[in-house]
């Protein structure tokens, strides 16, 4: 049960940091020289990468790039995004 809770909170965290990366990307597309925005991008991009790796390690990969090398193919067993949690 403990694992379930942390999976939920890690996923929520991934939603949050990913949104930050997505939104600042569009801003940087039209404000490429805004240094504060560049730092913001860098910070959240790093947090997102770490969180995706952590998620893949415990619960399976959300992206192929964060998949860990193992003897089992877990990508196809991951919940599809349209399924209810």
């Amino acid at each position: 049960m403990n694992t379930m809770v942390s999976q939920k909170s890690l996923l929520k965290y991934i939603y949050e940091v990913s949104f930050a990366v997505n939104d600042i990307t569009l801003y940087l597309d039209t404000h490429p020289e805004d240094e504060e925005a560049l730092q913001y991008f860098c910070k959240y991009k790093t947090l997102r990468e770490k969180a995706l790796k952590e998620y893949a390690h415990y619960f399976g990969p959300l992206t192929l790039d964060s998949a860990t090398c193992s003897s089992k193919w877990s990508w196809g067993k991951m919940k599809n995004p349209w399924e209810v949690e």
Binding site: L11, N22, T25, L26, D29, T30, N80, P81
Partner: protein, 204 residues
């Protein structure tokens, strides 16, 4: 090319089915101001955008719209899961069910199928960006209309998120239009089409 991420842009977990509501919300998948048209519009327009940073913005917003298409499709799917015939009969979903059962297919709330004429790729940066700004406002109005019809918070929250993104995209396209105009003759933005007439202006 694209990479896929096995999650939505914003979480959706709808507990109660509602086929009537699904037949309204499906308009933001395949309707005149829906997310399918939005993604195809920006992803088609970008090839002739002469300014690299604006082409990049069209790619990034077009990509996000694919994520929105997936969100709207998910709402429709979750609202039409495990339906009984009694839940279908007498709703607006009944006619849709005849052709698609509970499959997700792009059409407007009024039943009109998706059509590529719902968006334009004009090959003129000023024309295309004005269309893009109008498209974001039209989609925002449609979300406003849907939000007035919805009471279920499981449906309302993702719709509010999608509505908000229309505003952000509108802002970014306005900035993109400014970037395009900064590259043109300030006395006459329409002196030539920078995507076609190849005048002597530096590429950015």
């Amino acid at each position: 090319m694209w990479n896929y991420e096995k999650r939505l842009q914003y979480p959706i977990n709808i507990k109660n089915p509602n086929p009537q509501l699904a037949s309204m919300i499906i308009s933001q998948f395949g309707g005149p101001d829906g997310e399918l048209g939005a993604s195809m519009r920006y992803l088609s327009q970008r090839y002739t955008m002469p300014y690299r940073n604006v082409g990049g913005l069209l790619t990034d917003i077009g990509t996000e719209e694919l994520g929105h298409l997936e969100m709207v499709s998910t709402i429709v799917h979750q609202l039409t899961r495990n339906l009984t015939m009694d839940q279908i009969k007498g709703t607006n979903f009944e006619a849709y069910y005849v052709d698609h059962t509970a499959g997700v297919w792009p059409q407007a709330a009024g039943g009109i199928p998706f059509n590529a004429c719902e968006f334009q790729s004009k090959g003129d940066p000023i024309t295309d960006l004005h269309e893009d700004m109008a498209a974001e406002q039209k989609a925002r109005s449609t979300y406003d209309n849907l939000i007035r019809l919805v009471k279920d918070p499981d449906v309302l929250e993702p719709l509010k998120f999608l509505r908000e993104r229309e505003l952000v995209h509108y802002q970014r396209f306005g900035e993109a239009l400014r970037i395009v105009q900064d590259n043109l003759d300030s006395k006459n933005f329409y002196a030539f089409n920078p995507a076609f007439d190849k005048p002597c202006t530096p590429k950015k």
